[in-house]
Symmetry: D4
């Protein structure tokens, strides 16, 4: 930042840049304003990952508009989460997207070759947690991670989980997804030697209070390497897993 400003100043001193140009340069807005949304075009540079569109509550037209702005600015890879089938089909009439109903995700571009440090393991307590898991898994794959799926391994039948101890031990990051009592995160956290991202789900009834029970459980995990994202936030977990799995040596 410092260097960039210095260069601008030097150009002004040298006369190779006018004051007006410099002013503009120092204040330039790194996003495009669509009126209803401000598309962030520098994000890929700033955060190393393309912009994501949260589909819930947006019309198909709005989503198409955002995608086009991105593509016109050179962004090939676009992820749309919480996208229902109907919207996906409407969007497809305007721009080519791939849609995966089990993950409620649409995307432009293609799933890249995995290039992370290791594998991302996505585990669920039950079968009802699978939609959240697929959102997490596909997000991680979209950002270049190899993903292993391990579904329906809840702690009430521990042998199902222990049968996969080796996958757990060898993973680079683990996403543990569970509703109801959410104990999966603690048990996996105690077995694994890598960071565990816990995702509470709203699966359950009665005193599960739509995910509150699982959320509190996971926050109180007595295993040390566990951090938590919002209830049902599969995307957030997949994104975070990608960040961890792409850590590199920094000066």
């Amino acid at each position: 930042m410092n260097e960039e400003i210095r260069k601008v100043l030097e150009s002004v001193r040298d006369g190779s840049m006018t004051v007006e140009e410099a002013l503009l340069r120092l204040k330039i807005q790194p996003f495009e304003d669509l009126g209803f949304a401000k598309v962030d075009l520098h994000r890929s540079l700033r955060q190393g990952a393309p912009e994501v569109i949260y589909g819930a509550g947006k019309t198909a037209e709005q989503i198409v508009g955002i995608i086009r702005t991105m593509q016109e600015n050179g962004q090939k890879q676009v992820l749309i989460t919480r996208l229902d089938k109907e919207s996906a089909e409407l969007i497809r009439k305007s721009v080519p997207i791939t849609y995966r109903p089990e993950a409620r995700i649409g995307f432009c571009g293609s799933i890249p070759e995995p290039d992370g440090l290791g594998r991302v393991l996505v585990a669920t307590g039950g079968t009802s947690d699978i939609p959240v898991a697929e959102e997490a898994a596909l997000t991680a794959e979209f950002y270049g991670n190899e993903v292993i799926r391990l579904y329906d391994v809840g702690v009430a039948g521990l042998h199902r989980l222990l049968a996969h101890k080796e996958e757990i031990m060898s993973a680079s990051v683990i996403i543990a997804i569970a509703g109801m009592e959410g104990a999966l995160a603690s048990v996996i956290g105690g077995l694994a030697d890598c960071p565990v991202i816990a995702v509470p789900t709203s699966v359950g009834y009665g005193a599960s209070f739509r995910g509150l029970s699982a959320l509190l459980s996971m926050l109180n995990s007595c295993a040390s390497g566990v951090a938590v994202v919002n209830i049902d936030n599969g995307f957030g977990a997949g994104y975070y897993a990608n960040m961890i799995n792409h850590r590199e040596k920094k000066a």
Copy 2:
């Protein structure tokens, strides 16, 4: 009940009992009124277990009064829970009691020989849960149960728990005690083939909200044979375990 009333009626018909005597008999109060407390003397008959004194919030004098009333009515075995050291010593000056500080329990009489169907296993997630566990264990012992203690076997270090798989498999009833995320109940519930009584504890901080997290976890257990008592209610769990462990064939 039916039979008892019939006998009274027959005696009235036969003239062997006056109407006044019968009235008295039908209405007799099976408890003694101490003013501040109504001591339940028929409970042993009605529920098969002696009255218990909840010590918290009662003065040593009040407790002594209740014990004496019980003893005068033939009750030898008396249990006093939530009893602090100071009160215990004050009480001991008036009536002989045994005091166990680790369980915050005092009692008159002696621990009987176990005569239950099997063993009661008392397990805790951590060392801080031990006071609640001791309250449960001693209560169960006081009612005639053999108790096995298995402390600090929380799910974050699963091997500690699995090393005791045989004790778990062979127990008649299990009391699973844990604070924080309370996952112990689910994991044990999945391993055991006997009823599990889950006791959430107020151990923890932050989002444990004084036991709420563990309570919700245990209520939402995906393992089937798990029922829950109040936060920190070691006595309730021990008492309930005793009930289960003393089931007999009923006509």
Copy 3:
């Protein structure tokens, strides 16, 4: 477990089993992986009761798949809870099941002769609690228990409850089901000499907060022999009652 492993080891030593065979034997997975679910086939051995399918959130096809896997592995008795009428009819086209709409339960096999220690009493506070009660009652019957139903005996009309004092006194286990203020569990708990399993229901409005009021009441019961399961969890209560009612002498 210990003994089984010893035998394997002795066979290896004796040469009657190859290392590969032993490895397989020690690691064999006691469940079958259907992709979306891991069917637990050893549970009957491990916990003395057949696997149960939680029907909510599963498609008819998934349920049929799980049933078939179970049946191919010799499991005759299968219980499906939270099953709506439509799914039941779809399933029936593929596998023969009996469906009981009042309990939202389907099952393969037949209701066995009761062989428990005594009777399971299922009581409700009001008529709106009956669906939860039927789930509990049918579950208990399916596992071999004689069940007595006692509906609409809420504490606001105490004489309705007291008229059945003898059934209460003679039960082996009682399931007390109530919404709103949930006082039924405490009152029955004070009358009975057997374990009471309390089931809060989401029946009510306003400050019942979908069962929270009844849940808290039951957890705070001043009667000692009361344990609680999740809101509306009729199955859990029936299953737990069965466990208690089938206790046997253990070495």
Copy 4:
């Protein structure tokens, strides 16, 4: 009110009152301003009962100041609630008051002869609820009601309550006070034919959440004649009972 204003207006018209006097009369403040408190002197007229001083959080000096202002304005009967022993003794040095520690109440004047429609019954679930009960009972007595105390009759030992069925049936108003599961209000509400005022108490631990459990129970009572006041609000219940017990025919 209407009449009073009419008279003022007529006096102005007649010249028997100047405009200034009338203005004053119409605007006169029916309270005295002590700076830290505005003492309400017309309340006795307006509401048929003397002002009450809520002692908690007021210094002895402030309380003395308020009492004196009241007495100078002719108020003989003054009630001070939530008054601790120390403050009571300090106050007594300045103005003569009677102090009842078990109710944490002080008062000037004397307990009047009861003149209500009938008796106020004050019942508690346990012995720990007695301080709240005494606050209610003494308040009712101070306002001229005959009070019957019925303590430690919680629903877990129903026979203790039923032994007093006649007192319950013959009361004019009942105050039902309980912590923990708060079921007492519902059971009494079902037995009695008079209004029941339910007072949840903060007695209990764990999931009683300082009275929340009892509060919700009482609000959800399935018995119809039950209304609820704040947790531990013995005064409010006694005051409300007095209001009901002193209803008279109104034109």
Copy 5:
């Protein structure tokens, strides 16, 4: 009660009643069992008011069944609350009922002449509270009370309320109904000299949390003569008002 038993005993002694007859007499069930509901026929005697049918969650057939049982036992006046239009029309095909949609109430029999001590004032904060208010008002009328309606007098426009000060001052009981901040109860409580029954409603949005805000407000009312019933419980308030308005001198 005492007297009744004495007579039975004397008859047995005299031989005018056999032991079997006496047994029956002492244990007779004062309700009729319809299987799905236990109709309480002695309630009118016991509590001075006919049984009420809570319509929500009951089918038209069930309600007809209960009404018929009541009528066959001589009960002419029957109230059905929370009854929707469709059910009301279905019921009307079998038994003649009057239906008032604005109160969601149906009833058999007729509104009696008022015979209470005075008038019941029903006030609401806004127009959206009217359905709850009508439930309260009609209930009170059905039990023989004169009712004054005072709607849309919320505290944000205090002059609307103060314009009716005389009705407030002269009422015998007041039912104050409000959602959102629920301040109406406190303001009326400060103006009136009679008991106020506060009914929080679920009217509002956002932080009203479906009536929780109004409920807490009303429980914390700084005015003394205020007691609270459940959120939206218009019936409970009307019933309680009737009880207060029909107090009589008791021995």
Copy 6:
């Protein structure tokens, strides 16, 4: 007020007004009673702003009735909030209104020229907050304020917000609208030198608990000039902004 009463009194003294006329004058009701609603006609005088109709839960007929009463009393400017399209069209058949679907607002009269102290800035965290924002913006415009809209400037992309620093610095009042974590209010509060009105929205999922998360965030803002209105209360914010933006020197 004082002066007005004095004049009435003087007129009575002078004989230029009868006692009856004076009585009427002193008690005249400044609102009209429509039965279901009490229309407040003096509000414009009292509070400097026309009455607003909260459309939710009112029928089109009721709304038309209220509008007509207002218009007959000279009120030209009427605002109807929370008005859906269907009702708006029904109303339009009877009285001419302008309807703005994006704000769910209808109004009679026209948007006046802005005459406030400065500009009202309306900012949102995301695009889903826009309906609430439009309700706030249009309300402010309707009351005579110039409004600047700044949408989708959530704190996760700080540069989008900072690019508009000048608009923030130069605003007279700012309305900060956000769901989820609600951090927008604090960040703007730290940048601006004018009062910030924070509006939490129910936008989000999981642990946003329908706006609770944003509400708590905003209440706990560490920036000093932030006050909060109810969840989704765009109208309240616009109205409050107008009040601030029209402050004038007061004697």
Copy 7:
């Protein structure tokens, strides 16, 4: 901002400023880093008000350090909130401050002459709310506002409030402070024509849940001109009132 940067750039172009100087000027940190705190020295410029020190949780030494840094940078007026007596006395040994125990506030400098648009009215529901009120009042005075105090005017005795209707009508801003049911804000909001800042207090017991009840009430106020700050946040209210009372015409 824009202008300032332009000037720097022009100076660089003109050679009157070196690149290094310009860099420094553009990046200068407008705060001083004390290690444990970053003292904000430009705030007065940025927000038109001096920095405030939140005293709770800071040692006297830390506070002295912050004050000195401020004073060395020319800041004469410093406000320290939540300051207990002991700390105040310790601080006074190092720097001269005025301490007001009733407001728990200390300050350097002097209370300025009021120069706001009008008066700030500070009203409380009870005497226990006075500490919060004094914090608000003194804060407003410190920022140059005339303050009127109106204490103990809770809605349960409405005449106490109405007696001050003229002060309410003539205020420029009102701070309404109340615990328990918090109705004061709504009632004042309905009477006043100026913005009302509502401050819930933690005064109360039981279901007041430490201010939650008052907080929810105030957020749900049916009066339009009410915004809310955090529980017990007297400072925030005083600061916000100052902002409103010092609005000026903006270009």
Copy 8:
């Protein structure tokens, strides 16, 4: 695991290991049982990090016992969290430990040279969050990470945070610690391109509800790379940061 078992089996087959030895080997308990605690000695192997002792609720004697067992098993590096000064001094009499009061941490061994991928940035919103921050920072340092501290950079004074943009951009992992509204995590999450670990603190008052407000904010962060640990859980954050900062290429 597989390989290890194979080797044991081959040894048994070869006769180089007896069945008893093999049994022992397969079942060996990788922890030592101290009665009150089961010390985990293989954790360093299993999870790549030494055991940590949670000091709260343990006596100095218990802690000394656990340390000694660890040291006897070759563990040099031991971390004790939540350790108060008094206990630390008692422990130091038995075993040499370093104590850091600002972090409430004691440790055996020494802080190693940092060997992570990059730097761990620890940022706090205010000065009161520093104890939690120090716990996080020291934990990270103890596990071999370079830590940068950035305290008191809350979002209400954004320039304080933005002045450190380069440290934020260049960090490998960031721990964002804040109480009250917890917005720091979102703002940093939007600026950084590395994983952010959010730690809500219990700092604040009123509606912060002991950290609940910050917790919900952080879970709802609209920035994508944010995961959350328990309230005040500085250790958990430091441990998790270490895990991320030590990721390596995995096969």
